[in-house]
């Protein structure tokens, strides 16, 4: 009799190879991406602080540190090449390598968005007037959008750490709230626009709102790749509501 196999994938699909070095190579690749993710979360918070509170030092810090994410992205690419060349991964290993490669791209682009927000924060206050371009309501709207985008991105990175389907679903479930927060920020900008806010400043704020929304989108892309690894199904471009409903129904 063949022993009954477990119903679900093991907690860590990168482990358990007969060649333990293979485990270490996959763990190294994932570790690089987790580090990139941590940087992006810190960068997002700092960039939004620069935008909302006018803290220029935070903006400069974000711009200084942004290349670190790019360099880590190069390291991730190199590790992907090495693993493919040395191990010729198949099945779940192949999915892990392909998914981590795509996730690295998403995290790197999310890092670019944080730098974009930091540049907008600097430009916003380089204009002569008004002294304070954001009303209190606008600040609140940006903080809510930041909180939603950051929370989604953080959960995306956590999901990568364990290839967790349930965690990924919560990110999809948060997408409507992300779009609502983004819409609210833009609406505040339209309705409560200070009378002397010049068009360039309006563009800076719109660009920042869009960048934050995109960080949330990158989190959803990451969640798609996590599900691809865990379940072996490419769920991109599928109807989110039906996907969430069916996977929840299956106990995730």
């Amino acid at each position: 009799m063949v022993e009954t196999a477990p119903l679900k994938p093991t907690a860590d699909p990168t482990s358990g190879h007969t060649v333990s070095r293979y485990d270490r190579e996959l763990a190294k690749l994932r570790g690089i991406i987790l580090r990139m993710g941590e940087h992006v979360i810190e960068q997002t918070q700092a960039a939004v602080a620069a935008l909302v509170d006018g803290d220029e030092s935070q903006a400069f810090r974000v711009l200084d540190r942004e290349p670190q994410i790019d360099y880590l992205s190069l390291d991730a690419d190199e590790e992907v090449f090495r693993v493919i060349a040395r191990r010729q991964p198949t099945a779940v290993d192949l999915r892990i390598v392909l998914a981590l490669s795509k996730i690295a791209g998403d995290v790197e682009r999310a890092g670019d968005k944080t730098a974009r927000i930091a540049r907008q924060a600097l430009e916003l206050r380089q204009m002569e007037k008004p002294a304070e371009p954001l009303t209190e309501a606008m600040r609140e709207a940006f903080r809510r959008l930041d909180e939603k985008a950051c929370c989604m991105f953080e959960r995306g990175i956590e999901a990568v750490a364990t290839f967790d389907v349930t965690q990924s679903l919560t990110i999809f479930e948060d997408e409507p709230a992300l779009y609502a927060a983004s819409h609210e920020a833009r609406q505040q900008l339209g309705e409560q626009n200070p009378p002397d806010l010049i068009p360039r400043q309006t563009i800076c704020l719109l660009t920042s709102a869009h960048a934050l929304e995109r960080i949330g989108n990158h989190a959803a892309n990451i969640a798609e790749q996590v599900i691809y690894v865990a379940l072996g199904q490419d769920i991109r471009y599928r109807n989110r509501e039906i996907l969430i409903e069916t996977l929840r129904h299956r106990g995730y």
């Binding site: 994938p9 190879h17 198949t90 099945a91 379940l231 069916t246 299956r250």
Partner: protein
């Protein structure tokens, strides 16, 4: 809306199969063992060596013009199963085969069936090239001659040339057909053995680790040949090389401790196997 949900449910049904499944019944192979156009049909095949059961209720079709690879750890029964397909196990004392194996609808274990012509119809290429200690020409001509497949020397010459051409060896040996087959390189010897198998007009060619004794260049040539032979023959190949199985076959069967665990399209098996044992083996986690 309900239709869409149903469609999604079906897709998720495929998804749940993609999860690493349990296998409550050890004889329930994951995947479809049948093909639309079968040449050999094996059903519930059991093989014993004395009291030890080596194959447990294996069912598998081998289709026309396809290459089926059989993979699995040492001792899993893949070579034993391959040898059942042309009754090579008949020569092993204490070996007992049960179940049904049909070639074009005929039971190959029928008591009235002579295994010698069967082994011409279902030829075998072995792990180590084993040319006869005869000339290159005689290595290929031997089978057609004893099976009476030609009427005269001219026909035999033509058959030898055609077989060597199909095996991709003609241009390399046409000027030295009278020299010993054992004088060829390892890769050439293996192609000579393939030519010898082809010469008796088989329907199915069985290959038991045909490239394990060859260098990468000779392996590539034999793999290219396997792909060409598929146009005219059905091929079942046992290999320990995952990459070779992925490269040469259209379907792959994974054996484990005498059970056929999973069978499916090679692309699926190597990207998204449905059984955990298959995944563990092909990803190098089998311990």
């Amino acid at each position: 809306m309900s239709t869409t949900v149903e469609a999604m449910g079906q897709r998720v049904g495929a998804m749940s199969a993609a999860e690493l499944s349990s296998r409550p019944d050890s004889r329930a192979t994951v995947g479809d063992v049948t093909v639309a156009n079968p040449r050999m049909v094996c059903r519930e095949v059991d093989v014993w060596y004395g009291s030890k059961q080596a194959i447990k209720g294996v069912s598998l079709d081998i289709g026309k013009n396809e290459v089926v690879s059989m993979i699995g750890p040492s001792g899993c029964g893949k070579s034993t199963f391959l040898r059942c397909l042309n009754r090579m196990n008949d020569t092993i004392d204490g070996c007992r085969v049960e179940g049904s194996i049909q070639l074009d609808g005929q039971d190959i274990y029928d008591k009235g069936l002579d295994p010698v012509p069967l082994r011409a119809q279902v030829g075998m290429v072995f792990q180590k090239p084993n040319p006869f200690p005869k000339s290159i020409y005689e290595n290929v001509a031997y089978g057609p001659r004893i099976h009476g497949l030609t009427n005269n020397k001219a026909e035999l010459d033509a058959l030898v040339e055609a077989s060597l051409r199909k095996a991709g060896l003609w241009n390399e040996v046409k000027d030295r057909l009278d020299q010993p087959g054992t004088g060829l390189s390892g890769g050439q010897q293996q192609r000579l053995c393939i030519a010898r198998t082809i010469a008796v007009s088989p329907e199915v060619i069985l290959m038991d680790e045909p490239c394990s004794a060859l260098d990468p260049i000779a392996t590539a040539i034999v793999e290219e040949l396997i792909d060409e032979l598929r146009a005219n023959y059905s091929i079942a190949i046992v290999t320990h090389s995952m990459q070779q199985a992925a490269r040469v076959s259209q379907r792959t069967a994974y054996f484990h401790m005498g059970d056929l665990i999973e069978v499916g399209e090679t692309n699926e098996i190597f990207t998204n196997p449905r059984h955990k044992l298959t995944e563990d083996y092909i990803t190098g986690r089998f311990g």
